[in-house]
């Protein structure tokens, strides 16, 4: 049995000791950010209690120890996504910063007016707005691959939309709003066949499923630590070695230079070239503890656990009249994210009733306004899962949903 023991994992997360509105916390908002296990919190405080020093700048013992633990985090990140080497991993604050780094360091340097960036209709604002800014500034065109009725991006649709002018295809591996999983390797191939680079937004995928950048063949992968048990303030941009080498710096300052004269500078080697200024030291150090925790769980066991719970969530929702579920009907095609609406009830009000049951769900447009417009809704309520969620959480969710319908008399005539 490779069954994952979520109830046991839960004990590692101190936040579950608290109560919300008099009830045990049921946290179904991990797609927004995940809770942190003791080991990560300890690693963060341990850095500041025992090690704290600025890195790449000193020769004293603390600086040496600090550099070691932070470079270990980088190496663990590389191993976690199967990168060629730790030097392919650039420390950033989060996925948004990683994508902006590509927009500034790669696209601004290599793209010409009239050339195209291709995205999909599923994208989070963080994989849309940086390209809008670029388009405005450089005269680059922004185009999108449409999704099908279940919110899927297919390789055929991408192949129909991409053109020889497309230089970059930037798409999310898993939709934060609908949970849709993309056929990542196929989409990368569509990009490469057309002579474009492929950027994968892995914010939702990397924390939940095995990630292999070399199997995918992508040129970039962006992801955040805070969605995978690590503290907020640390994330990564993976780049293929030859692609990173040809990129300009994004931010200038300390740490990213080789030599500085008054009027000019030469750049440090990759990845340090893209890491100007002192990073979020403790967060970078604690990132390694998050990877250790996930590896101990096993990513395949974790995925199986989430898939089983997702199926249960879908069953609860499908059993209720007046409830619309968005995204793919087959749980194999989605991660642990379920978006829904209750007929006649605004998502905000849905979320408020869930909160009264101690159940945290996200409501609103999920930073995906264009997608919401396509679905003809202002927003949805969204339940998202992680390794600490249990069948009891799904039962609490079901109670919350019943209460929403009772409270707002859904189905009853006014």
């Amino acid at each position: 049995m490779s069954a994952f023991d979520a109830a046991r994992a839960r004990a590692d997360f101190p936040i579950f000791n608290r109560r919300v509105r008099g009830k045990p916390l049921v946290y179904l908002d991990s797609a927004a950010t995940t809770q942190k296990p003791n080991s990560v919190i300890k690693a963060l405080t341990a850095y500041y209690e025992r090690t704290n020093a600025n890195i790449h700048r000193g020769v004293h013992t603390l600086a040496e120890e600090g550099e070691k633990v932070i470079e270990e985090s980088r190496a663990k990140a590389a191993r976690f996504v199967n990168a060629e080497s730790p030097s392919n991993m650039v420390f950033v604050r989060n996925t948004t910063e990683a994508i902006n780094l590509v927009a500034h360091g790669w696209a601004r340097k290599h793209m010409r007016p009239g050339e195209e960036v291709l995205v999909t209709e599923l994208e989070h604002h963080s994989n849309l707005v940086p390209w809008q800014l670029l388009a405005k500034d450089k005269g680059v065109r922004l185009r999108q691959v449409p999704v099908d009725a279940e919110g899927r991006v297919t390789a055929e649709a991408a192949r129909r939309t991409i053109t020889p002018k497309t230089r970059l295809f930037a798409f999310s591996a898993m939709s934060n709003a609908l949970g849709t999983l993309s056929p990542v390797a196929d989409l990368v191939k569509v990009a490469h066949d057309s002579g474009a680079l492929a950027l994968v937004d892995g914010a939702q995928w990397v924390p939940h499923m095995k990630t292999d950048v070399r199997a995918w063949g992508c040129d970039f992968l962006a992801f955040s630590g805070h969605k995978m048990l690590a503290p907020a303030g640390v994330g990564f941009l993976y780049g293929k070695p030859e692609v990173l080498e040809k990129m300009d710096p994004f931010l200038g300052g300390g740490g990213m230079i080789q030599e500085v004269w008054f009027e000019r500078s030469t750049w440090n080697t990759v990845p340090h070239r893209f890491e100007a200024g002192t990073p979020s030291l403790g967060d970078c150090a604690a990132f390694g503890a998050a990877v250790d925790y996930l590896e101990a769980c096993g990513m395949d066991a974790l995925r199986a656990h989430e898939e089983a719970l997702t199926l249960k969530l879908l069953e609860v929702l499908r059993g209720e009249a007046g409830v619309t579920v968005y995204g793919p009907s087959d749980p194999k095609e989605r991660g642990g994210v379920v978006s829904f609406n209750v007929e006649g009830v605004h998502p905000h009000d849905v979320g408020q009733v869930f909160d009264s049951e101690g159940v945290a769900v996200r409501v609103g447009h999920h930073c995906c306004q264009p997608l919401m417009r396509k679905l003809q809704t202002g927003g949805t309520a969204r339940a998202s899962l992680y390794l600490y969620n249990t069948e009891e959480d799904v039962a609490a969710f079901a109670r919350g949903l019943k209460k929403v319908k009772e409270f707002f008399k859904v189905g009853a005539k006014a």
């Binding site: 509105r21 008099g22 605004h346 009000d349 909160d355 609103g364 202002g378």
Partner: protein, 277 residues
């Protein structure tokens, strides 16, 4: 279903009257042509409100609302429409100011104008800071529309700012708050409150020179121009004023005109303590 802690708050938040307003269609829609049009969004949740008003002889003859939002924001804007119809634009501004005071400063429901009596049902929302924005969206949009109209514009756009702090900071400051703050400050020599002694000559409230908040100017005197404790006393008064929420700048001015006269200025109690009969 058994009641619990979360349930009673929920009942208080979603009073039946709010759900009734939410479902009521009387003022839903859009007027074309119209005299005032205002569109507002809350970028955080994506809620939208569109207000159209028709005016006749200086009064709001008709008003409609559109857009989409939660029970709280829809009920609040439905009440807005009901309250505005038949009144002048000056009435509309007064109602908006009264409603904002009720929501942000948690004023008593009795202070609400009669036309807004039903808004008392929104009192439960004040316990949920994130939802106060929902209740205010329609009203802030209205104010933006009226502001534009007063400058000759017929179309206005309102965009909410994230979180409640900017509004909360601009809370009204009252003279009572100033009195309560400096009341406990005592004259270091005779150990009687400076307020009882009559040493406070006056106070002014103005907007701060920079940023959000208020500037308070307090004029006071000393028991004698040569009082050796003067600087210490002024510092205490300054400190007490600066601690009032929303106060950004403090001026304490000394005045010896008129010269302090306990017989005329001090309270009866202070006179007793001073041995003045």
């Amino acid at each position: 279903m058994a009641m619990n802690e979360g349930d009673s708050e929920l009942q208080e938040l979603y009073r039946d009257v709010l759900v009734d307003y939410y479902k009521d269609d009387t003022h839903k829609g859009r007027l074309d042509p119209h005299d005032v049009h205002a569109h507002g969004v809350n970028p955080v949740c994506g809620d939208e409100v569109e207000l159209t008003l028709r005016l006749k002889a200086g009064k709001v003859s008709e008003i409609r609302y559109g857009g989409h939002g939660c029970v709280i924001s829809r009920a609040s804007v439905a009440m807005l429409c009901e309250a505005l119809e038949g009144g002048t634009l000056a009435d509309a501004r007064r109602l908006a100011a009264a409603f904002k005071t009720f929501m942000l400063d948690k004023g008593p429901a009795d202070d609400l104008p009669e036309a807004l009596g039903e808004a008392a049902a929104l009192a439960g929302v004040r316990k949920f800071p994130l939802r106060v924005k929902c209740a205010l969206l329609g009203w802030n949009t209205l104010l933006q529309g009226l502001e534009g109209f007063s400058h000759g514009g017929h179309e206005a756009e309102y965009t909410d700012t994230p979180l409640c702090q900017p509004e909360a900071k601009m809370k009204t400051l009252t003279f009572k708050q100033i009195g309560d703050a400096v009341g406990p400050v005592k004259d270091p020599e005779i150990h009687i409150s400076i307020a009882e002694l009559g040493l406070i000559y006056g106070a002014e409230i103005k907007p701060a020179a920079e940023g959000e908040g208020h500037r308070v100017k307090l004029t006071m005197s000393l028991t004698s121009p040569a009082c050796p404790y003067g600087p210490m006393l002024l510092a205490s008064v300054h400190g007490a004023l600066a601690k009032i929420p929303g106060v950004r700048d403090v001026d304490v001015d000394l005045s010896f005109s008129p010269v302090w006269d306990p017989r005329a200025m001090a309270s009866e109690e202070a006179k007793d303590q001073l041995g003045i009969f």
